[in-house]
């Protein structure tokens, strides 16, 4: 196998992974704001979100494997599995390792959600919000193309769409559940008592 090939495979699959994970994050936020159109039902957002997450596992797998196999990097199994154990840019690679673990946790708990229950799943899903930012930071710090213009454009695009989606999510306000007490608590307009006075 040509070393160039492995190097390209690692970088390429890394970038694709980043793009996929960005899309997954945006779809997750879109799901929270309950956006839908007649041609784009809710389940489409959700299913795309889960399926692209699964697809990204493939690309992350290729990314990590080709990086380990590439003889030009000093990355071995340990560097890829133990955070900050790499001799090459330990911080940035380490953040990538953590990011992968968070995504694995997300995917495993999502596949087993019905068995684990909603509460456990939600807890892990919240914690894994850190997954995407870590992936972005990892890509900015460990990639050899980090300062190439096209790479920076990709980073900017990813950060931009997530920032937009996050703003949208925050602006969309409370869920149904959180609004229920407000709907109920509307003060009674009618003060004409129907019943007789209070029987003490």
């Amino acid at each position: 196998m040509s070393e160039q090939f492995l190097w390209f495979a690692s970088r390429g699959s890394g970038i694709v992974s980043l793009l996929l994970l960005t899309t997954v994050t945006v779809l997750g936020l879109t799901s929270m704001v309950r956006w839908q159109r007649p041609t784009w039902p809710r389940f489409l957002t959700n299913d795309l979100h889960s399926n692209l997450a699964l697809l990204s596992v493939v690309f992350v797998g290729v990314h990590v494997t080709s990086a380990i196999l590439d003889p030009f990097t000093n990355l071995g199994i340990y560097a890829a599995t133990i955070p900050f154990a790499s001799s090459y840019r330990p911080l940035w690679v380490g953040l990538g390792v953590i990011s992968v673990y968070l995504f694995v946790a997300l995917i495993v708990t999502s596949l087993l959600r019905e068995r684990l229950g909603q509460r456990t799943w939600r807890l892990v899903h919240w914690v894994a919000y850190a997954g995407w930012p870590l992936a972005v930071v990892h890509s900015m710090g460990s990639g050899s193309d980090a300062f190439a213009l096209w790479m920076m454009a990709i980073e900017a695009l990813c950060i931009g769409v997530v920032a937009l989606a996050l703003t949208w999510r925050v602006a969309a306000g409370r869920t149904n559940r959180e609004q229920l007490p407000a709907v109920v608590g509307a003060s009674p307009r009618v003060h004409a008592p129907y019943a007789d006075g209070d029987h003490r």
């Binding site: 799901s31 309950r34 039902p41 809710r42 389940f43 959700n46 299913d47 959600r113 019905e114 229950g117 909603q118 869920t175 149904n176 559940r177």
Partner: protein, 74 residues
């Protein structure tokens, strides 16, 4: 009746406290679930016939809060 039991794979139940009116269940199983005026599911008929079993399971899995459950027949 025995015949009916064989033809259903269970019945659908919505936990009304957990349900938050997301509505994916009605999208995925319109034969059995429709939404009321406020986006909450109405189960037209709780019994799930065999030919809708796979769709019902998918709807259960799709609920963002796991409010929809498929209870096996007793």
């Amino acid at each position: 009746m025995k015949r009916t039991v064989e033809r259903t794979v269970g019945r659908l139940v919505v936990d009304p406290i957990v349900c938050d009116g997301h509505g994916l269940c009605a999208e995925l199983l319109p034969e059995l679930i429709e939404l009321d005026d406020w986006g909450y599911p109405i189960l037209r008929s709780p019994a799930v016939p065999r030919d809708l079993a796979a769709y019902a399971r998918r709807a259960v899995a799709a609920c963002p809060v796991l409010a929809l459950k498929l209870v096996p027949p007793e």
